[in-house]
């Protein structure tokens, strides 16, 4: 997939690019309004990560511009402004999602892949990973053609892992993804373990390979063995 990252903070930009590059992804970047404007006019992207506060202009104007150009690029707004107004304005202008800084890269990746999936396979929203097939819209998971039944949380967890293939995903990020970051949870995320354990067990029982590994007690990694 082809992604444009519009972000003026170089350190953050670098991290995002590093996380997204690979697996056949092409990442481009723009650090100010003018270059971002130029890039979106010239090329098409599967998804654009858009920071709202940019040197040289307001990020929301780029959204308007995209609309004028009748482009179908997916747009994910990343902003330090945790403002409902901005969020609503952004979504009104045609953004697909809104993520507030600071965020976990795994969460960003999950949202971007979700946007691209929705854009590219209208209605037919399926992830295939080796012997595992996940129909996201129907919420069905099959391993080697056999349907397995997962709870809502386990399903969400699997989709999250599949979006972050071969990456270490922290328990913290998983908890926020599954229960929302407004929850003001305690710092003890060990209860995640139960869900991961159940998911792994169900996948193994259905005949899938053991793709899940625990990493240093911080998180998990789902990917090729």
């Amino acid at each position: 997939m082809k992604i444009l990252v519009i972000e003026d903070e170089p350190a953050l930009l670098e991290s995002i690019l590093a996380y997204f590059t690979g697996e056949g992804n092409i990442c481009e970047h723009a650090a100010d309004f003018a270059s971002a404007n130029e890039k979106i006019s010239l090329y098409n992207y599967d998804c654009i990560l858009l920071d709202l506060g940019l040197p040289g202009g307001e990020g929301l104007e780029l959204l308007t511009k995209l609309k004028q150009l009748k482009k179908r690029d997916g747009v994910l707004i990343i902003s330090a402004r945790h403002s409902l107004d901005d969020k609503l304005a952004g979504l009104d202008l045609g953004a697909d999602d809104y993520l507030v800084k600071p965020f976990h890269l795994s969460e960003l990746k999950a949202r971007v892949t979700a946007i691209i999936r929705r854009k590219n396979f209208d209605g037919n929203n399926v992830i295939v990973f080796n012997e595992i097939t996940v129909d996201v819209s129907a919420m069905k998971v099959t391993v080697k053609g056999n349907l397995i039944s997962l709870t809502k949380k386990e399903f969400d967890l699997l989709v999250y892992f599949l979006s972050n293939r071969n990456k270490v995903v922290t328990k913290n990020a998983m908890a926020e993804h599954l229960w929302g970051d407004e929850m003001d949870l305690s710092d003890d995320f060990d209860f995640i373990y139960t869900h991961v354990k159940n998911l792994r067990k169900k996948l193994l029982e259905a005949g899938a390979a053991d793709y899940l590994r625990s990493v240093y007690g911080i998180g998990y990694k789902f990917g090729d063995i």
């Binding site: 903070e9 350190a11 953050l12 991290s15 995002i16 590093a18 996380y19 330090a80 402004r81 945790h82 403002s83 409902l84 107004d85 609503l88 507030v100 800084k101 600071p102 965020f103 976990h104 890269l105 795994s106 949380k153 990456k167 270490v168 922290t170 913290n172 990020a173 229960w179 929302g180 970051d181 407004e182 929850m183 003001d184 949870l185 305690s186 710092d187 003890d188 209860f191 139960t194 869900h195 990493v215 240093y216 007690g217 911080i218 998180g219």
Partner: protein, 417 residues
Amino acid sequence: MKLSNRYNRVNILTSIVVLIITGIIYYVVIHFILTEKLDRDLAVEENEINQYINTFHKLPLPASYLDQQIAYKNIKGITPEREFLYTTYYNPKEQENEPGRSLITVVHVNGKAIEVTITKSRVESEDLVRIILLITIGITLLLLLSLLLINRFVLNRLWRPFYSILNRMKAFEVTRMDNIENEPTKIDEFNELNKSVNAMAEKVRQDYKELKSFTDNASHEMMTPLAVINSKLDSLLQTESFTAQQGALLEDIYHATGRLSRLHQSLLLLAKIENNLIPDLQTIELKEMLEAKGRQFQELLEKDGLVLQENLTPVEIKMSRYLADILLNNLFSNALRHNVTGGHIHITLNKEALTISNSGKTVNLQTKIFDRFSKSVESEGMGLGLAITKQICNLYGFRIDYQELDGNHVFTVYFGA
């Protein structure tokens, strides 16, 4: 004591004293004048008797009129001095003793000294004095009454702008942008007061605004480095060549940044609620939302073996969905966090109130639980959850209450203030 009361008291006391003194003076002077007049009449009578004696060399007949009596008496021994005195005399017509004024004088008829007593009735002058006294008292009372009425109505009306300014000052909230309005008045002092109060409010508001925008900017500026730290941690984690010890260190850093960003968001949220910057008002089906929350928290409940009991009736309230979500989240996570293993959570919802009660350790919670950064020793939270909850309640005119009942911690949100 109110200014007007104090003023009234002094005013009325002085009025009474002055009026009493005036009354006394009035009484004395009039009494004196009337006695003078009587004495003059008596002297005229004496003169007439003397003229009669000079002309006819004999005493006139002792006559008794309605209001005047003349009596003669031969003197034996010492000749009395001529004098005026107060007496009582018998009024034959009224058949009673009446107060009178007498003149005792001595006349010589054919070389014989005779004492003459002329008495005049004092009833009329007494009556006059009494009437004057009554009128004076009447006027005094009338004056007092009018003073009271003036104070009651005129002063109250005069002071009305003052009290209206006072009330507006009491209702003044720095977070709201409304002005302390002018109560139209022609009184310079009140106009000036109004002006000063408004100037002060404006300054307070300005200072507050600056402080707020500083906090706002500082918060936003802090978000970016925090985002960088977070993303770098995520990136670092992908390099995957850590020992278990390094892993533990990384986990600690994750926790710290997580806390920091949550703290940050909570503070920003508080500021936003205070400034009423979350407008999206809509009808919320509270029952459905609570049921959804129960499902959302299910795993966490199971983890601690908690039993959730819900007794809900459908209730619709008007508020922001976003804030309703936060409100319920905070109450739920509070009930979870301060619970004991194998405990319970009871939720009751009806038209009047939402009650969430949970089992927990008996702790003497201070009344400050709704204050910012106030938390119990073993609490893992930041101490902002309940402060936010309270702010949300304040924003929509709900009242939140906490009490400890039979070892249960009970939070109640009353929808009607």
